[in-house]
């Protein structure tokens, strides 16, 4: 009754092609953004910031990036963590080589570098498809991590082989390093995520996004109507890696503060993000957020429940978490292979008809 497009007439194509053509959706987004920008600071403390909101935002950004590649362009990647690592190490090198550089610039440049590396590892996609490509991205995963372990220049010859983020500012506010306030960090991540999500939404509903989806749905037909596979695939790899690289810079610089390649960027991390994309919904911007939220919060909730409420041992609850996450993935794939985003869509369709379903 309340969610309905009746009476909202579009008189030109610009309105008809707006991001949220339905007024109720538009208001919903304003409310969420309002909450994120105005209400979140009220509850912000170290726990909420560092354990929940900041990682949620960063994972959303990375999932968004992977979703471009897998969900929109149909190219499977198992090397996400390696591209995060490229972003992280790029940001580390930039921060230490150019101390005066604003962290915003660092993040963007790291994204660009990752885009270059991503395109390089995307080249095989021009000849191979599907699982074969997945193996090619595994090559990226193992090779890049090895590189960051072996080449000392990447971690500035530090004895531990770790990288740690020095204190840097974005628009005069300190956002990295141990003394940066959680609130600044949160706002910084939020701004980047909101802007990129908007830009991504614009790209996927324009010419370039359509060429990605065309390649995904039927690559031969796409080529025969004039989509150049080289451009479509490489641009998807580039844009996807750009977002993942920015995410990687935030992941290391803002959130972790210090990182070591094998631990922080392992293959499990790659799978985790792939799960976020699949459970959230392939080919959906909203899905990236839902998936990241779900998979990031689930273990926290489970842990709180099992360890704190049921008093189970930490080791046992960790194993249980693994099982539950695995089982949930299977259940999700069986019940709704198109993910949370599709569930939301179905709910909206229902609401449109409510309370008269016929």
């Amino acid at each position: 009754m309340f969610y309905r497009e009746t009476g909202q007439f579009k008189t030109n194509y610009a309105d008809d092609q707006a991001i949220f053509p339905i007024a109720q959706d538009r208001w919903g987004i304003y409310i969420i953004l309002g909450l994120a920008f105005l209400a979140a600071p009220l509850i912000m403390d170290d726990y909420w910031g560092n354990a929940i909101l900041i990682p949620f935002l960063i994972y959303s950004l990375i999932a968004l990036g992977l979703n471009i590649l897998v969900g929109y362009c149909g190219q499977i990647s198992l090397g996400t963590a390696a591209f995060m690592a490229v972003g992280s190490y790029a940001s580390f090198k930039l921060m230490t080589s150019f101390p005066g550089l604003d962290f915003t610039i660092v993040v963007i440049l790291s994204g660009l570098m990752t885009a270059l590396v991503g395109m390089m590892f995307g080249l095989p996609s021009l000849r191979i498809k599907g699982f074969y490509l997945a193996v090619a991205t595994l090559a990226a995963q193992f090779f890049l991590i090895w590189l960051f372990n072996k080449v000392e220049w990447f971690y500035n010859y530090s004895a531990t082989g770790q990288i740690s983020a020095p204190e840097r500012t974005a628009f005069m506010f300190p956002v990295t390093g141990p003394s940066a306030s959680v609130l600044y960090k949160y706002y910084f991540c939020l701004c980047i995520v909101v802007i990129t999500a908007l830009a991504t939404k614009n790209v996927v509903r324009g010419r370039i996004g359509r060429s990605w989806m065309a390649i995904r749905d039927m690559d031969i037909a796409a080529e025969l109507i004039g989509v150049r596979p080289v451009y479509a695939k490489l641009s998807a790899f580039a844009f996807s890696s750009f977002l993942i690289g920015m995410g990687g810079a935030l992941y290391f610089g803002v959130w972790l503060g210090a990182a070591e390649p094998t631990e922080a960027f392992g293959i499990d991390q790659s799978f985790q993000i792939l799960f976020m994309v699949i459970i959230g919904g392939l080919g959906s911007i909203l899905g990236a957020f839902l998936g990241a939220g779900f998979l990031w919060l689930l273990p926290i909730v489970l842990k709180n429940f099992m360890v704190d409420m049921l008093g189970l041992s930490t080791a046992f609850s960790e194993h249980m978490q693994v099982i539950i996450v695995g089982a949930l993935i299977i259940i999700f794939l069986i019940v709704e292979p198109h993910g949370l985003a599709r569930l939301w869509q179905i709910l909206k369709e229902k609401m449109r008809l409510w309370p008269f379903p016929h």
Partner: protein
């Protein structure tokens, strides 16, 4: 002379490591052929099988000849459960969805294995021969482990049995029919579900063999499940549906990796083994996308 012997030793060690990869890849190929599922959980199945065997022997003190059939039973029950709870509900889904489901399955198996049998490293000793082959060591100063030779023999026997199973039996024919075309197979009265249970059981038993050999060599532990990832480049080389391809691919990867580690490793700081297989597969893909034994694919519209 000494140098040549060293080279030979590296190659032989590589070949035998390759046999292990081939065993894991074999499990992949079996399942992929019969159900089109790219089973990421194959590695964890090796771990799970070896854990179960080691666990049974440790907790009950029963000898291997009792514990092994029991473990085989567990693997068959597992195959049945997987068909019942997972595969049956995912018929006609995209390959990527099935693939993701097997990753989920891998998580479940890994967690359950840890909870049931504990996550500590287990020693697995079912009386397989261990240590160096003394005769070669004494006469030629040439080091090979007995276990590795044993593994090669086992692998050869396994491949032989599977080949006969596929070519000569009624079930084998049905399996090949299913591999060619699910719907056509259904229409001539082959039960997909039964076939899947059988194939996953066989893959489970192959996993057990791989798990036992590997586990005897370096203990049953989590890293066992990671050889699944090494089996991927093997599959690329050999093609996803070719059993001989899996064997040859495994051997090439095994030898290539060892040679790279020995001759290239020192130049770049070692641990080349981590990524060499993937890079080799990648280079290979760019030259021959259909694999060693695959046919050139003609695309149609």
């Amino acid at each position: 002379m000494a140098f040549d012997l060293f080279l030979l030793e590296v190659i032989v060690t590589g070949l035998l490591a390759g046999v292990m990869y081939a065993l894991v890849a074999l499990g992949f190929v079996l399942i992929f052929k019969a159900s089109g599922v790219f089973n990421f959980a194959q590695g964890v199945m090796c771990l799970f099988a070896a854990l179960t065997l080691a666990g049974i022997m440790e907790k009950t003190g029963w000898p291997a000849w009792v514990a092994i059939p029991l473990t085989i039973g567990v693997m068959i029950a597992l195959a049945w459960l997987i068909e019942r709870l997972v595969l049956r509900h995912l018929i006609n889904q995209d390959p990527i969805i099935l693939f993701m489901a097997t990753i989920g399955l891998a998580y479940v198996l890994e967690g359950s294995g840890d909870i049931i049998w504990g996550s500590d490293v287990k020693v697995l000793d079912i009386g397989l021969p261990q240590g160096a082959v003394d005769w070669l060591l004494d006469t030629h100063n040439f080091y090979i482990e007995k276990l590795e030779i044993f593994a090669a023999v086992i692998a050869a026997v396994l491949v032989g049995v599977l080949a006969i199973f596929f070519q000569k039996t009624r079930i084998g024919r049905a399996l090949r029919a299913v591999a060619d075309d699910h719907q056509a197979a259904l229409s001539v009265g082959i039960s997909l579900r039964t076939i899947w249970v059988i194939v996953w059981s066989v893959a489970g038993i192959v996993a057990l063999v791989a798990g036992v050999v590997w586990g005897t060599k370096s203990g049953v532990q989590f890293s066992l499940s990671l050889i699944a990832l090494k089996a991927l480049p093997v599959l690329i080389l050999g093609g996803f549906t070719s059993i001989p391809g899996a064997i040859v691919g495994g051997l090439i990867i095994g030898v290539g990796e060892k040679l790279a580690e020995v001759y290239m490793g020192p130049l770049v700081g070692g641990a080349v083994e981590n990524w060499f297989a993937y890079m080799l597969a990648l280079a290979f893909l760019l030259i021959r996308p259909q694999g060693l034994f695959g046919e050139k694919i003609i695309e149609r519209v």
